[in-house]
Symmetry: C2
Subunit: 276 residues, 2 copies
């Protein structure tokens, strides 16, 4: 049984903690991209999780397996997105695994129920707060209230499957940022503000503009990003930071990003996670 | 500006009326199919709606235009689904028009807001109750509570983009069935029952089985459908009636349906309505 889930890059967010991991999460806005996690699940003698062909701890996916699989499984996930750079790889791996396990064992779970298993695993592991909710939806997702799919509330800003340019300098620890109380105060204040502003006029352009305002006001943007965003804007494009990676996403930036490193091109994924 | 919306066939349903058309609708289950309505909207001197190249009254789409478009538009919808046979053509035309108008005028409406305009137009026209909510979602949609996108509540049963066989004998008036009090009492009782049963074990197989039980118990199934479903089942497949058309949908029926007429093949559309 095979399933896939899209990459998800967050433009801005505010954490909304809750003692119940099903209700905990974040609000904000982000784009699903066709850089997918594709997972094949087969029954096996012993449980093993492979990431890109290598046996891995994959703690988030492992939690999903422990929650859902009634007997040992071999879980093989192929990731076509960068790891540890804000692309929601852990959420996509866990979510595609949950769909595939549901199918392989005929568990009879709905999309919201498999999504909940992946969301809870992600929140409990401290690797993410809102990716799974967005990845279960697809498109340019506005997360209006936090929580697992079916509990958290989303809307979408209509966009075509447009091309997004991405430049990744390196990883950034989500856990470290999320656990710094000082940083998070600024993040939450600015994230809630960006959400309110976006809802006044929910368009793609406002999403990118507000994301970049958020990155700077919350003190997350780095020096090279200022230069990169400026370069993209000088070609008539728009850009902002990928939360939370040492990475930039851009629209219509032409070749501007190429001066700063290798550019990855992807398209907005309008569908969310699904069986293949 | 161009947008599309999938066809949607309902397997079972129960009407849930409400004086507020945003809250009125139906609960039930249905499949989105890749037989789409694709709509191109351009500003114009005079408003006109064309269906498959022919100027048409298209009352549902016309209501959407009157609600959303700030100045005259030319709306050209190409339908690749049968008309008046339970494929949600009016909802798909209205929904794709709403997305395209939003894009053409930069209205800054979210997916739920454009969906609401299409849902309200459909309910006010009496042509459907739940198609728009499902078409805005994609996949095998369970409508848990009625209303426009963002107000009605849905979940999905995970399915791959599987092939569905369809046989259409002729149209059936949705309006006529929905306005017959006696018929609707049976429909609503059986539809609510099918929903409760499906939620106990939400799988594709249960969806088809419960749909066919609904069609017979509610007194909507016709004689030829009994024969057609039996023929499909004898080949190891499953089938049920398309609500509300003189039509059948089947899974894995082999050539069984071909004895009853021309078979249309489609795939489940996992994505909902979107800009193209």
């Amino acid at each position: 049984m095979r399933a896939s889930a899209p990459a998800h890059i967050t433009g801005f967010f505010a954490a909304r903690p809750d003692p119940d991991p099903r209700l905990a999460g974040s609000v904000g806005g982000g784009l699903n991209l066709d850089l997918s996690a594709a997972t094949t699940v087969s029954r096996s003698e012993e449980t093993a999780v492979l990431l890109n062909g290598v046996v891995s701890e994959a703690p988030v996916t492992r939690r999903v397996v422990d929650t859902l699989a009634p007997s040992p499984v071999r879980v093989e996930t192929e990731l076509s997105m960068p790891l540890g750079s804000g692309f929601g790889a852990s959420g996509a791996g866990a979510l595609s695994s949950a769909y595939a396990i549901n199918g392989a064992f005929g568990l009879g779970l709905t999309a919201n129920a498999v999504g909940e298993a992946a969301h809870v695993a992600e929140v409990a592991s401290g690797t993410g707060l809102g990716d799974v909710l967005a990845q279960n939806t697809g498109g340019l997702v506005v997360r209006l209230s936090p929580g697992a799919p079916g509990l958290g509330v989303v809307d979408r800003i209509p966009v075509p499957p447009l091309e997004v340019e991405l430049l990744v300098r390196g990883p950034l620890s989500t856990k470290e940022v999320l656990s710094d109380a000082g940083t998070m105060r600024g993040v939450n204040r600015e994230g809630e503000r960006a959400l309110r502003e976006l809802l006044k006029r929910p368009t793609l352009e406002r999403f990118v503009t507000l994301s970049w305002e958020f990155a700077r006001r919350a003190g997350l943007a780095r020096g090279w990003m200022e230069d990169a965003v400026e370069a993209v804007e000088s070609r008539g494009g728009m850009a902002s930071m990928v939360m939370l990676g040492d990475a930039i996403f851009a629209l219509n930036g032409g070749d501007a990003l190429a001066e700063f490193g290798d550019v990855i091109r992807a398209r907005v994924s309008l569908g969310g996670a699904s069986l293949e």
